[in-house]
């Protein structure tokens, strides 16, 4: 395990010049994934269509990816990028892995590369759930990063299967009659464990040390590892500048997307989330700054604290129940050494 101070001095393959929103968590994740994959091996990235792909690989200027002055012949710094359609990031990665293994077996290639698939939550869990599930099921030695921003951010903030309860999206709007999303989110962590992934984790770069540890472990894993990266979306969640990291931390501490890691055959762990509900921050603090929960939580002008709107207690209680229910599910999964 490399030390944090060494990792941050490495060269990232994600360069400035992307046209992502200011303060985008996906960009922060790419920076750190780019630094973590600078470990002396060639890396092959496969990208499905998602925000982080369309805004960094614009045709005349795919400048956001690259390692500056390094030539492609510099094997330890070299990397390749394959872009494919929405659902195909895991399957294309699988193909790249098979080809690399074949070339290594025949002796045509001496150093085996590492293969990393990047995908958004809509691409991976709605459109591409089939290919994700089958790739995990086949146990290919790749790392799949799913950048979870709870919506289809690229196409205009539509509902995705893991949009939280009550969230206002383009396709689950809040009107006089409706209260935003009413479908409880898919239990994607449990799903991946059931499919037989070698390592399943949910971790955000807001916890750098843990993020680095998990990703290094994922890169070393001999089976498929799936890492979900919660990425607060400044435009889709509609919050002010400079709150990305704070919301990522609050989201974890309130239980919306707890830090979680489980390796196959070992006990898992839930991090940075108090088992005791009384010790956790209130979920209103997480929901308040985001305008997608504006109809449920508002800022009290007198006290300056975020409060549940009168008449919306039932929905907020539903969210609390869902968080607790999922915490119990995750605890059960973590205590199992399957």
């Amino acid at each position: 395990m490399a030390k944090l101070i060494d990792i941050i001095q490495r060269e990232s393959c994600f360069q400035p010049g992307s046209s992502l929103c200011m303060g985008c968590m996906e960009a922060i994740a790419f920076q750190n994934i780019g630094k973590l994959t600078d470990n002396g091996k060639k890396t092959i990235f496969t990208l499905g269509t998602f925000c982080g792909e369309v805004s960094t690989l614009q045709f005349p200027n795919p400048v956001a990816w690259g390692r500056g002055e390094k030539t492609p012949q510099d094997w330890t710094k070299s990397f390749g990028i394959i872009h494919h359609v929405f659902e195909s990031a895991p399957t294309v990665a699988e193909g790249a892995r098979d080809m690399a293994d074949l070339l290594t077996e025949t002796g045509a290639m001496t150093d085996s590369p590492q293969v990393v698939a990047l995908s958004g939550d809509g691409g991976a869990l709605a459109i591409g759930l089939r290919s994700l599930l089958h790739t995990v099921h086949r146990g290919v030695r790749i790392v799949i990063f799913v950048l979870v921003n709870d919506i289809f951010a690229n196409t205009g903030f539509q509902y995705s299967p893991i949009t939280p309860l009550g969230a206002d999206t383009s396709t689950t709007p809040v009107t006089e009659m409706t209260l935003g999303n009413v479908t409880p989110p898919l239990d994607y962590l449990g799903l991946m464990i059931q499919a037989g992934a070698g390592l399943v984790a949910q971790v955000s770069p807001a916890y750098p040390k843990y993020f680095f540890r998990v990703v290094e472990q994922a890169l070393a894993c001999p089976e498929t590892s799936v890492v979900f990266v919660p990425s607060p979306c400044i435009t889709g969640w509609k919050y002010s500048d400079g709150e990305t990291i704070r919301l990522a931390q609050l989201g974890c501490e309130t239980g919306f997307f707890p830090c979680f890691m489980k390796e196959k055959g070992k006990k898992g762990e839930i991090k940075f989330l108090e088992p005791d509900i009384a010790k956790r921050p209130l979920i209103e603090e997480f929901m308040g700054p985001q305008r997608r929960f504006h109809h449920l939580v508002h800022k009290d002008p007198k006290t300056g604290l975020f409060q549940v709107r009168p008449g919306k207690e039932v929905m907020v209680q539903k969210i609390r129940d869902w968080i607790q229910e999922r915490f119990m599910t995750l605890s059960r999964l973590a205590s199992d050494s399957l």
Partner: protein, 324 residues
């Protein structure tokens, strides 16, 4: 120089009034154009055509809006290259594109800026009637956000003779409600609209030299493929510091050597532009950031630094003349 501002009604009746707006993703150029359309469709004798243009670039990137308005059927559907009214929604875009490109002499310019019409005209070298409105300041008062779009919409309502500014407020609020803005915000926008009426200053100026603002001729497809050659691909330069809020810049000050080497700013900078050097004592010592080229001013480093070494400062630098 023939001014067209007296002829607007005639243009709408007999020709097609063409409006082009330059702004940034998030600066509200689309909302302005759509609000005009919503006003126009109320009048059954008006034909209207509107579409925004933007690339896959996100918040802060240059965007363009086109609008045609006429009492005759509109047969053109091309990009507007010689508009009667040119709008500049955000001063920051002038560093990336030329909002006055191809605008004939004597046309109307609408600028959302703190400058006076004469200052703006000499700075951007414009010829015609220049209207300036300080929409950012007005919006800061009502919305707590520097958004000039409602003020520009109010000015357009006053300018275009076929519309009645008194009825625009209800239409605007209807559109905002459709966009599912909270009730209070809709009301604040309505108030802002009314406060913006009669706030614009104007002057007739003639500063453009014959060589200024010429539409660049088609230079062939060159080495790149045809799709890459589109003049409308506005994000070509990819110097993303133009996405940042206009008039502000990130500043790093560590005169007392307070940096404790925690590295949080380096890890959490989306653009990877924090400059540092290894330090035997504390690991890494941050020395600054490359703010001139890529900083989008996302405020993450300001929020995360435990010693509050980063700050946002007003700058005169950002207001310099772009490559016009």
């Amino acid at each position: 120089m023939e001014m067209i501002c007296g002829r607007l009604e005639q243009i709408i009746n007999e020709e097609v009034l063409e409006i082009r707006g330059d702004g940034r993703a998030g600066s509200g150029i689309v909302l302005t154009m759509q609000s005009i359309v919503a006003m126009a469709v109320e009048d059954p004798t008006l034909y209207v055509q509107e579409w925004p243009f933007f690339s896959s670039a996100r918040k802060g990137a240059p965007t363009r809006g086109f609008l045609r308005l006429s009492r005759r059927p509109i047969e053109k559907s091309s990009e507007i290259t010689r508009p009667h009214i040119a709008i500049m929604m955000d001063e920051g875009v002038t560093t990336a594109i030329d909002f006055a490109e191809g605008v004939p002499r004597g046309s109307i310019f609408i600028l959302n800026t703190t400058l006076s019409p004469e200052e703006a005209a000499s700075k951007f070298r414009l010829s015609g009637r220049i209207y300036t409105i300080d929409g950012d300041r007005l919006a800061q008062h009502f919305l707590k956000k520097p958004l000039g779009n409602i003020s520009v919409f109010a000015l357009l309502m006053e300018l275009i003779p076929v519309f009645d500014p008194r009825r625009s407020r209800t239409r605007l609020e209807k559109i905002l409600k459709k966009r599912r803005l909270p009730e209070l915000l809709v009301k604040a926008n309505g108030d802002l609209f009314e406060a913006s009426l009669n706030q614009a200053r104007f002057a007739d100026c003639d500063y453009a030299r014959p060589t200024d603002h010429l539409a660049s001729p088609f230079g062939g497809y060159g080495e790149l493929m045809p799709g890459a050659q589109s003049r409308l691909r506005l994000s070509r330069s990819n110097l993303t510091s133009a996405y940042a809020r206009t008039g502000f810049v990130l500043q790093f000050g560590d005169s007392q050597n307070l940096c404790n080497g925690c590295g949080h700013c380096i890890i959490n900078c989306p653009e990877n532009i924090i400059q540092f050097h290894p330090d035997p004592e504390i690991g890494v010592r941050v020395t600054g950031a490359d703010v001139t080229n890529y900083c989008k001013l996302c405020h993450e480093c300001i929020a995360i630094c435990p010693k509050n070494l980063f700050s946002e400062v007003r700058t005169a630098e950002c207001w310099k003349v772009g490559p016009v």
